[in-house]
């Protein structure tokens, strides 16, 4: 009886009142244009390393990405039961970006690009027209081989591909790749899968300036996408604050403990970084600068 009365009392008087209030929605980000391709999301996500296809599917959905990367590999001829990743990708609304991961020579990267295009043409996916070019130096660092990348880029451009070049964070090779016809240069924040974020922010900034500033021979329209090394959402904010047009990542989502939640976080981070880069941050100062006025204080101020 007493318990019931208590419960009733609590219900009637201690029901917390929450004023639900929604902030105005931030302005939408403009689409990302890469050559003749237009993406509504500036986040491009990989499809590798997920524990299962269902998690991958949900994470892609949460990321808001409309472009995902895939790799080209041998058919596993022994496993007739093997489910294809293609059954788990909504091909009608995703643009597939095939990569040349695992290529260590320009020749192999060109071969793999053509094979990827062939499959995407059969699927009728717009991704048939482009490739994420990776020509890697070795298996330990997975860092780009700049000479091989440049050579393959020239060949693929000649063959009609829209080429997105995975590159190191060096502004000189970035400009060479752009001059060779790359539709986008994608400098690595840090080595693939390392989760070390933007290891050399000054270098990334120089790549972005070189490709986008008119006084350095660049164009504001030229898309620079930071690719590789993203470990957490703040790495994306960092890349976008440095002036990147977009971010490409895989492991940071796929290997997070909760990949779907991390995909949400990555999407929000990209928006946060985009707006930050355009909002004009305050300069850094060594000492403090009070936010509340000194005028009218009723206190003793030390030293005054």
């Amino acid at each position: 009886m007493l318990e019931a009365a208590n419960a009733e009392y609590l219900m009637s008087t201690h029901q917390p009142t929450i004023n639900v209030r929604t902030a105005p929605v931030a302005p939408a980000l403009p689409p990302l244009r890469i050559g003749s391709f237009t993406l509504s999301s500036r986040l491009v996500v990989g499809t590798g390393k997920y524990r299962d296809y269902t998690t991958m599917q949900a994470a892609i959905e949460a990321s808001g990405a409309d472009c995902v990367t895939v790799a080209v590999r041998r058919e596993r001829l022994v496993d007739a039961e093997g489910r294809s990743i293609l059954d788990f990708l909504p091909l009608e609304r995703l643009t597939i970006l095939p990569n040349t991961a695992g290529c260590f020579t320009a020749d192999d990267a060109v071969r793999v690009s053509r094979l990827g295009r062939e499959i995407l043409e059969q699927l009728g996916n717009p991704g048939a027209g482009w490739v994420k070019l990776e020509v890697l130096g070795d298996r330990t660092t997975l860092l780009p081989d700049p000479v091989g990348t440049l050579e393959a880029c020239k060949e693929l451009v000649k063959d009609g591909f829209t080429v997105l070049c995975y590159s190191s964070d060096d502004p000189i090779i970035a400009a060479r790749l752009r001059d060779a016809g790359a539709a986008s240069v994608m400098p690595a924040g840090s080595p693939i899968g390392s989760g070390r974020g933007i290891a050399n922010p000054a270098a990334i900034r120089m790549v972005i300036d070189r490709l986008k500033l008119a006084e350095q021979g660049g164009s504001a329209e030229y898309p620079v996408i930071v690719d590789a090394g993203v470990g957490t959402a703040s790495d994306i904010v960092h890349a976008m604050e440095l002036g990147a047009d977009g971010v490409l990542l895989n492991t940071g989502i796929a290997h997070a403990q909760d990949p779907v939640r991390m995909a949400h976080a990555m999407r929000l981070a990209l928006d946060a970084g985009w707006h930050t880069a355009r909002a004009g941050r305050i300069p850094r100062k060594l000492y403090a600068n009070a936010s509340s006025p000194w005028e009218g204080v009723i206190t003793h101020i030390p030293g005054e």
């Binding site: 590999r73 294809s84 693939i192």
Partner: protein, 66 residues
Amino acid sequence: MRIELNGQHKELDGPATVAQLLLTLGLERAPCAVEVNAQLVRKALHPTHALAEGDRVEVVTLVGGG
């Protein structure tokens, strides 16, 4: 006839085209691409491209990747 298929030796019963090979493998409808001796053989040419003794054939598809 012996060919190398995806890095493994394979014995074919007789002369075969790329299309016939894919049929044998049950991949005639699968989204895949075929290379013979490091040269892409476009889908339209599968029915006419005859395989030769010792050909190195790669049959590839798309997998998860970053």
